[in-house]
C-alpha cells in the first residue's frame, strides 16, 4: 500500500493524458469544499436534545428561536467548528507543505482523505454522544488538517502538468473547493431527511455516511493522479529561455521564500482580498434582508447565487490571469472591488436590489478568483519546485482572514446599531472599511517586484531541481 502511494510509483507512463489530473484534483476539492456548507448542520446541531425529546419548536410558529431545550448547543458555540476547521486548514497547509512536496500527490491526497473523512466520523461520534469538544476535535482539528493537506496536495502537480496554463489548471482544482458546497449542502439536507426518526434529526448518521461516501470519492482521485516523468513537457510547449519581469524560470525553496518581501506582500494580498470577501459572505443573507426587506427564502437564493459566482470566479479569473498576468488580475480585483464596495451603500439608498446583487456577485467572484490565482502567482515569482510548500505557508493568510473578516464586520455592525444607526444603514461604514482594505491590498500588490537574485537556487541544487 505504502509503495503504491509513493511518488516513484505514481509517475505517468508514456501516453498518459494530463487532462486526467484536473478531475483527480476535483475529486479531492469537491469533497473538502463541503466545509463551506457546514452551516446546514448548525440548526439541527442546536436541536439535538429537543429532537431526542420530540420537543423542538415548530419552525412555522417559533420564528427565530432555534435552541429550545436546556443543554442544547448554541449557534454561537457551533460557529467555532467552522472557524477551527479554517484555522487548521491554514496551519496544516503551512506545516505539512514541505511533506506534501516530498511524498507527492498520491500519498498526500490519501492522507487528506483519511483526515477529512476520519474527522467527519469523529464528529459523528461527538454528535451521537452530545459532546461538543469531540465535534471540535473531529471536524475542526482532524478534518481541518485534512482540508489543508487536501487543498495544497494537487496544486504543484497541476502546475507541473500545465506549465503553459498554470492559472487554468490550479483554477480548475480550486474551483472544486468552491463547488463542494453546492454538492455538500443538498446532500447533507437529503441525508438528514432520510435519517430523521421520531427521536433523532439524523445529523450523526448523515456525518457518518458523508465520511464514507467522501472517502470513496477522494480515493478515486488518489488512483487517477499521476506526476509527470522528469523532463516531460506538453506537446508544442516551448519553455521560456529568458524570464520575463515577474515570471521566473528558476526556483526558490520555501526557506528562502520566507526571507523575501514578495512572500509577505502576497500574504497580505491574499489576507486583504479574503478578509473583504469572507466578511460579507457570512453576512450576505442578513444584509439583503435588512437593506431591502426581502424574505429569508429569497435571501437564501441570493446566498446560493453567490456560491455559484464564488465557484465560477475561481476558474474564470485564474484562467484570465494566464493571459493578463497575475499582477494585473489582482489590480482588477482591488480596483473594481474598491469601486463596488463604495457603491453598495448607494445602491441600498437607491433601493436597487438588482444593482446590489450584481455588485456582490462580481465581488464574490473576485474573492474566489483571489484564491485560485495565488498558486500561479507564487509559481511565477518563486518557480515550480517548492510552490506547494510556499502555497501552504501563504494559506495561513486565509486562517487569519477567517477570523478577522467576520469579527470586523460583526463588530462594526454592532457598534453602529449601538450608536443608533438604523439597521438598513448599519452596513455603509463596513462597506467603506472593506473598500479601504482593498486599497491597502492594491498598494501591496503594486509593490511586488521580481525576487532578488540571491534567493534563487544556485549551481547543482538548481540543476537537480530543474
Amino acid at each position: 500500500m505504502a509503495a503504491f502511494l509513493d511518488r516513484s510509483h505514481s509517475i505517468a507512463g508514456p501516453g498518459f493524458s494530463r487532462w486526467l489530473v484536473p478531475p483527480a484534483a476535483l475529486c479531492i476539492h469537491l469533497c473538502i469544499g463541503q466545509a463551506y456548507a457546514f452551516s446546514v448542520f448548525n440548526k439541527p446541531l442546536a436541536q439535538l436534545l429537543c429532537a431526542a425529546q420530540h420537543a423542538c419548536p415548530d419552525p412555522k410558529t417559533a420564528g427565530a428561536i432555534i435552541s429550545a431545550t436546556p443543554g442544547d448547543w448554541t449557534i454561537a458555540n457551533l460557529g467555532w467548528i467552522f472557524s477551527l476547521a479554517i484555522v487548521f486548514l491554514g496551519l496544516s497547509a503551512a506545516v505539512f507543505g514541505r511533506w506534501v512536496e516530498r511524498v507527492g500527490p498520491r500519498m498526500s491526497m490519501f492522507a487528506a482523505a483519511l483526515l477529512f473523512c476520519g474527522g467527519l466520523l469523529v464528529a459523528a461520534l461527538g454528535v451521537s454522544i452530545h459532546n461538543l469538544p469531540v465535534v471540535f476535535l473531529g471536524y475542526g482539528v482532524i478534518g481541518g488538517c485534512g482540508l489543508g493537506i487536501g487543498y495544497i496536495s494537487p496544486v504543484s502537480t497541476l502546475i507541473k502538468w500545465f506549465p503553459d496554463r498554470p492559472g487554468l489548471a490550479t483554477g480548475t482544482a480550486i474551483m472544486g473547493f468552491g463547488g463542494g458546497a453546492l454538492i455538500g449542502a443538498p446532500l447533507a439536507v437529503a441525508l438528514m431527511r432520510y435519517f430523521t426518526t421520531p427521536t433523532s434529526n439524523g445529523v450523526a448518521a448523515t456525518m457518518l455516511t458523508m465520511g464514507i461516501v467522501y472517502f470513496i470519492w477522494m480515493i478515486v482521485g488518489v488512483f487517477i493522479v499521476r506526476v509527470p516523468a522528469a523532463g516531460w513537457a506538453p506537446a508544442g510547449y516551448v519553455p521560456p529561455t529568458a524570464a520575463s519581469k515577474l515570471i521566473t524560470n528558476r526556483n526558490v525553496v520555501l526557506g528562502q521564500a520566507l526571507k523575501t518581501p514578495q512572500f509577505y506582500l502576497l500574504w497580505l494580498v491574499l489576507f486583504l482580498n479574503v478578509t473583504a470577501g469572507i466578511g460579507v459572505l457570512g453576512q450576505a443573507s442578513l444584509m439583503i434582508q435588512e437593506m431591502f426587506g426581502v424574505t429569508a427564502v429569497a435571501a437564501a437564493g441570493f446566498v446560493g447565487l453567490m456560491s455559484i459566482f464564488n465557484m465560477g470566479g475561481r476558474i474564470f479569473w485564474a484562467s484570465m490571469s494566464d493571459f493578463m498576468g497575475r499582477k494585473t488580475t489582482y489590480i482588477i480585483f482591488f480596483v473594481l472591488g474598491t469601486v463596488l464596495y463604495f457603491l453598495v451603500p448607494t445602491f441600498g439608498h437607491m433601493g436597487s436590489i438588482a444593482l446590489f446583487v450584481i455588485a456582490f456577485l462580481i465581488i464574490i467572484s473576485m474573492y474566489g478568483g483571489g484564491f485560485a490565482t495565488i498558486p500561479a502567482y507564487l509559481k511565477d515569482l518563486f518557480g515550480g519546485v517548492n510552490v506547494g510548500a510556499i502555497h501552504g505557508a501563504v494559506l495561513t493568510a486565509w486562517s487569519a482572514a477567517g477570523i478577522a473578516g467576520p469579527a470586523l464586520i460583526n463588530y462594526i455592525r454592532q457598534y453602529q446599531l449601538a450608536a443608533g444607526v438604523p439597521k438598513a444603514d448599519a452596513y455603509s461604514v463596513t462597506m467603506y472599511i472593506m473598500a479601504g482594505l482593498l486599497v491597502v491590498g492594491l498598494i501591496c500588490n503594486l509593490a511586488i517586484r521580481a525576487v532578488n537574485e540571491r534567493y534563487y537556487l544556485q549551481g547543482t541544487a538548481a540543476e537537480a531541481a530543474g
Binding site: R18, P163, L182, I183, P186, P234, A235, A298
Partner: protein
C-alpha cells in the same frame, strides 16, 4: 535544465477521460442546478 522531452497522449485515454470528467462533472452540475433552482426564489 530546460525540459525537452515531449509526449503525446494516447487515443486510448479518451474513455478514461470521459469517465473521470463525468465522475466529477455530474455531481457538480447537479449542485449548480439545485442551487440555481433555489436562487430563483430571489426573483419571485
Amino acid at each position: 535544465m530546460a525540459r525537452t522531452d515531449v509526449s503525446t497522449p494516447d487515443a486510448a485515454n479518451t474513455p478514461k477521460l470521459i469517465a473521470a470528467w463525468l465522475f466529477v462533472g455530474i455531481p457538480l452540475l447537479f449542485g449548480v442546478f439545485d442551487t440555481l433552482r433555489n436562487a430563483l426564489k430571489l426573483f419571485q
